[in-house]
Amino acid sequence: MSPLDLLVATPLGFMLAALAFGGQGRWLILVASPLMMSLAVWLVFLPPDAAHVVGGWDLPLGILLRGDGVARVFVLGAALCAALVGLQALYEFSPQSGGPSARNRGFWPLFYLMWAGANAGFLTTDLFNLYVALEMVSLAGVGLSALGSLQAALRYFLFALMGSLAYLLGVALLFANYGTVDITLLARTAEADAATLMALAVMTGGLLVKSALFPLHGWLPPAHAAAPAPASALLSAIVVKLGFVILMRLWFEAFATLAAPIAVGLLGALGAAAVIYGSIQAMRQRQLKALVAYSTVAQVGYLFVAFPLVAAAPSAAWSGMTLHAVAHMLAKAAMFLAAGLMLKAAPGRDIADLVGLARVMPVTVTAFALAAISLMGLPPSGGFAAKFMLLDAALDQGAYIYAAVLLGGGLMAAVYLFRPIAVAFSGAHGRAVALKAPLAAVAPLALAMCAIALGFFGVAFAELAAIGAPWAQGDAIGGVP
């Protein structure tokens, strides 16, 4: 009985239970959240080299589940996110909240499927298993965004399908070339021949679609903006992260030796372009959820700006990158939940309709503001700690462009995130009506507080993220000596 298995088996069990109970399936979250949180915490406190092969079948045949730093940090973040989003969904998808019952019934199995897929993806080191996990998460993502707008969901579906096929092509090439699909084995045997480079290129392309990096982000804003609040919270927080984690494993572990600085630089450049494009688009949005969706595009850009920084100085920027991902996970989930609640109370879906909300629903607006503080990277939030570490690493390496992008991105985020807050603070009496269920605002507030609290535990987080990190085992990362 190790959390490495239970973290995937339990949500699958809950999915079946939710499907079995049908209408009453939503109350399961009250059992699932604490259980999953305790499993995630148990995983964090496992001994550093905790890893085992599923079913006892050894590599290269079996699948290795490994609780390294990245896995622990992301599983904990995902557990926190999903648990609290689930509580919010309890209110959102209850029968009296309106909306077709098929939707209410369909949400929960997909929610648990995504949770299981995310955990499976974070914990495994097997590329084909990652493909199946990716499919679980994308499928659930498509299903959840279909609860909002079908048009956007179909577009997301086609993008995701092509992304998965590209990824699968890469896995096929690697298996044909090396006879194994396990990252730890590949890390030892990979050399820069044509097949490996082609596989890496194709897989990276597929995964960039999955993590919605700038040129391939087309599917994200419409899907996230139209989906109901808990769904878009999960989409932005968890779905986007799995693609990124796989890229981290590929570029910094499996093919660390052949990640040429030009290629990593290209990813960094795409990341910088994403930050700028996402921020400018977010500034132009009239609707609140579209603004939050484009902010995801920008924040994903930050993660890829960190790629060249980690390639050059892994020990410095590694925890910054992971902290930024987790802080974004928590803050974005909080923001989407808060935005959902605010839009329920506001007369329309535009930012201009949020007039006077700060007085009507102070707790939700506070949650939105705290999440915004973390996304902007203002102290004392987790976002600030991450941006600080990345900026620190960038200036140490003399990468002034990336430093400028990090600072500029923060400022641009301030511009577009303060706009809704300012409108909410404006006192002119808007036609907002108070929400019946004040308890609903607890989930976003708790998530936002976690994002802020991350700011104070930077050191503990860095140590946790560094467990079993590829660069910790001595070999320098990336082509740069």
Partner: protein, 320 residues
Amino acid sequence: MSAAFDILLCLMILATAGIALFVRGAFAAIAFFIAFGNLLGLAWLALGAVNVALAEIAVGAGVTGVALILACSRLFELGDNLADVRTPLASRLGSAALCLGFTVMLAGVVLTIPPGDRLSKVVAPLLPGLGIENPVTGVLLAFRGYDTLLETFVLLGALVAAWSLTPDASRRLPPTTMVMTDPTSRIVAEAFTRLLAPAALIIAAYLVWVGSDLPGGAFQAGAVLAGALVVATLGGVVVLPRLDSLAARIALMVGPLTFLAIGLAGAALGGRFLAYPDGLEKTLIVTIEYALAISIAAGLALLAIGPPQPMPNNARADAR
């Protein structure tokens, strides 16, 4: 001699695929897609992968073909004439160049990799331990059991996602009733089903049983059963239950549930998740396979037919 056959077969595959992708009419495209699927099955036979050939023809060509044809017929009735809007020449040329380059590079890279089996020498010695001879079933159900477990949940998730699209209006309706509208055709279909159904059941049961030693297995058997179910609904012999009816849900969940339960039991009895206690491997694998076959049959059938729709023919079927 067989090389010539391989090359001929590959050319036919490429031809049917080309037509399927670029022919103007939607129905023609799908017809050729099904032909393409069958030819692929032959290719897998030529490669000596009988399991995959079965799966490709039954699931790849069969179920996907049925799903696409049904989707197209409903789109026609909804007035979407599946017209092929011409994309501007510039973007067509651009993507042509891109794909050509991609294909040439991929083909080049593929040629650098010497074909040869990779892990069969690793799999072979472990099989006797499981008490099964068919290596593919061994890999699917034991060594990579974790993948297969997750994959069955993907199937279940796809079904839930498809069914969560139904608007409340058509909640009460069973999956789009597929009964033939023309009475005499229905009799023909009904007669055919009465003949086919028992044979399909026997074949499916045989496939699952033989799967542990000879090519076969849960997925192939499930696909055969799904085919039988679809034909049965065509003939009106069987009315597929709604997803929220208990029968459907039990049938869908029995596979993943048994797999998960046995996996957890393995972990609980001191071993590890998905580790079969030695001595019991074969029996456990076969029970899992039978459960999976049922779930896959129900899943694929419901998926192929699609969620209930406020459909004109739905209404008409009810009217009579």
